[in-house]
Symmetry: C2
Subunit: 152 residues, 2 copies
Amino acid sequence: MRVSAKADYAVRAAAELAAEGADGPVKGERLADAQDIPLQFLEHILLELKHHGIVRARRGAKGGYWLARPADEVTIAEIVRAVEGPIAHVQSTPPEDIEYRGNSEHLQAVWIAVRASLRNVLEAVTLADLVSGELPTVVSELTADPDAWVAR
Amino acid sequence: MRVSAKADYAVRAAAELAAEGADGPVKGERLADAQDIPLQFLEHILLELKHHGIVRARRGAKGGYWLARPADEVTIAEIVRAVEGPIAHVQSTPPEDIEYRGNSEHLQAVWIAVRASLRNVLEAVTLADLVSGELPTVVSELTADPDAWVAR
DNA sequence: GCACTCCTGACCAAGAAGGTCAGGAAAGTC
DNA sequence: GACTTTCCTGACCTTCTTGGTCAGGAGTGC
């Protein structure tokens, strides 16, 4: 139940692209500098994002990366899935495919709920939201509770 | 963002203990059989649960494991934390400790919301809920949507 | 032709995941 | 006191993932 460095990097780089807007391609090096990400590692990540149709790129002198779609149509969930794979799998299988026996019969519903609650957050936030700071109400409701900010 | 086999096993074994109630200690072998978990692996897991004060044990002829507290006072969140460590850490650090620069400034709030939404589910469900099948409303609301049951 | 930038695969070290194995230490039984 | 039972513990193992680095190839623009 943790967020990998790769997913974190991917979202941050994508946010940077979203902020640059339509001012032409942005170089990988610039993204790496802006968000303090190892360049070569970032290039692999950007390639994955490209393969998933989230980002586009051009090589050469005036080359660089840009978002394949408007920033308000790209969600955090998409980016996380692109680099980490499916969200909230249990033992590497999707929760809807698991069959529990005996007293843990209802555990499946719990994992389904876990996945649904993650989706509620990750699919609600777009890159445009992230850059503007105007996060969806589902997020601001969750972060409003001071308890959400303390470790446990 | 995935659930490990260990966490899954731990919850299932604990559910089994909750169902057995106060009928004395339950042997590890019985738990392993009931939930189809490799015995030796399960023993390591139960030991961790014991160290975290969730389970108690006695050795010898009439020995076995039992819950340290009533089943309605033990949450899934506790069990997951005991075997997997803190929930929703980013790059192995808690979200409240991360400082983002530039255009990903608000990403911290998103990760905080992710953690909060996970807690909302995992801290709401107790072992008693799990065994009885009467899951808290937060769970049944999330699982009511057929969309929650399909892959994406 | 040349500089620039992305693209790709190979590699690598460390750690985690998912176990197995062997033995020791308490608890109960005869 | 011996013996069985069951937990307790650490060592070990294999495979995969994480978080990168390195080296070179392939488009693109001037």
